[in-house]
């Protein structure tokens, strides 16, 4: 734990000493891959995902000076991306695919695993209500902690835990893993 704290502290000191170009290069290096997977899943189209991502990174570049902590970079970048995605969605009215129109061929064309079990998992995810799906996508695709998701979605950590609980429970039901009665709501027992 002490080592981790020291590392974080050292990272921050190094980050403070970097110039803007170096910070930006690190941002791309560290997070572009996760963000691309998240973007493709949200946009369901390679070109569109890259467009939104490019805009998001341009915005990140312009406001990079406002990012004070290296450890906050990922959440900060995903927040910018989500806003840009919402903006473009509003502006262009992209045609998103709903559950009924999802098909494994289209998924395979985007580069996703085309095995039936993989398709069933993606299909189950899409069938979740958006408020449950979002935090699960961020945790599974972005590797975010509950606190980080809370920060990006601007809700409390306990609300995130509730949504994640419901998301996974619903997923298990859809996939036939769960037939148990209600487990009730989760309580945030931390601190």
């Amino acid at each position: 734990m002490t080592n981790q704290s020291n590392e974080t502290g050292e990272d921050q000191v190094n980050y403070d000493d970097m110039n803007k170009n170096r910070k930006y290069a690190l941002l791309i290096e560290a997070h572009s891959q996760d963000l691309y997977k998240y973007a493709l899943w949200l946009c369901k189209d390679k070109a569109m995902a890259e467009d939104v991502m490019q805009e998001a990174f341009l915005r990140a570049w312009k406001s990079l000076d406002s990012l004070r902590e290296a450890k906050a970079a990922k959440g900060w970048l995903f927040t910018i991306f989500r806003r840009e995605h919402a903006r473009q969605f509003e502006r262009k009215q992209f045609q998103y695919k709903d559950v009924e129109s999802m098909d494994s061929i289209a998924d395979a064309q985007m580069g996703y695993d085309d095995r039936p079990e993989a398709f069933a998992l993606r299909n189950a995810l899409v069938r979740l209500p958006q408020e449950y799906r979002e935090p699960l996508e961020m945790q599974v695709l972005g590797g975010f902690s509950c606190d980080e998701i809370a920060s990006v979605l601007d809700i409390s950590a306990s609300a995130v835990m509730t949504r994640l609980f419901r998301a996974r429970k619903k997923m298990r039901q859809i996939l036939g893993h769960e037939s148990t009665p209600e487990l009730g709501l989760v309580q945030d027992t931390r601190g």
Binding site: E29, E50, G111, L125, R168
Partner: protein
């Protein structure tokens, strides 16, 4: 923590390091199995959402930002130029003045970015290419070109050093090198729709030029502008299309 509480937390945060959560999983085989299933579902879901990230994505993101910056700087300079022109025009009472800062930058198409990024990234990935004798290099390049684009061949280029058909990002084309006074100059010929106009751009310490040519695009990458200009002259003489 009882089993019900454990399962609730397992569904919310299966990687929780909370002490009571960890202790419970150590003592309750059923709950350990349960959280194992939840973690496996997460892992399977992550795998089902995994895709191959384009190899040139990072390069394109960097390039797009650099181009945007460059474009904004030029626009800014142009705005100053216009303001200066108006002021001078008012001052001299109607003399026509011309913009000293060159043409306005045109809209830069994404094709430029993708082509440049793909080639520069490829050059970065392979900083050391073999140096062949000129005769071997010419023979190889012409043989390769016959399979890649039969209509194109190369006349003698004295300083040609190396050539190969390579994947470059999402493209595939001829990757070749020329010896120049300032070190090695790389050029790539990629078949496809030619981009709209010639563009020079500095990127990651390189000067890169993309030029529409017959049947595709020529991308020249070097450390100096002089080497790029020189290579373009040489290639213009050497490239021959049999159409």
């Amino acid at each position: 923590m009882n089993c019900l509480e454990f399962k609730r937390l397992a569904l919310s945060d299966p990687s929780s390091s909370e002490v009571s959560f960890v202790e419970h999983s150590d003592t309750c085989p059923d709950c350990l199995k349960y959280v194992g299933e939840v973690r496996q579902l997460d892992a399977d879901l992550a795998e089902s959402l995994n895709v191959e990230v384009p190899t040139d994505l990072k390069a394109r993101l960097k390039l797009a930002t650099e181009m945007q910056e460059e474009s904004e700087q030029r626009s800014s300079i142009s705005r100053y130029a216009i303001a200066a022109s108006v002021a001078i025009a008012l001052f001299v009472g109607g003399f026509m003045v011309s913009n000293q800062f060159g043409p306005q930058p045109g809209e830069i198409g994404k094709d430029y970015q993708k082509l440049l990024a793909a080639v520069v990234e490829h050059v970065n990935e392979q900083p050391m290419t073999p140096v062949w004798g000129n005769a071997r290099a010419e023979r190889t390049v012409n043989t390769l070109m016959a399979s890649y684009d039969p209509s194109l061949s190369f006349n003698e280029i004295e300083n040609l050093q190396f050539g190969r058909i390579c994947p470059m990002g999402k493209y595939r084309g001829l990757h070749a090198t020329l010896e120049s006074a300032n070190g090695q100059t790389t050029f790539a010929y990629i078949k496809g729709e030619p981009v709209g106009e010639m563009l020079d751009h500095s990127y990651e310490g390189y000067v890169a030029r993309v030029k529409p040519v017959r049947g595709g695009n020529l991308v020249i990458v070097s450390r100096t502008q002089q080497s790029v200009d020189q290579a373009e002259v040489e290639l213009q003489k050497a490239m021959v299309w049999d159409i």
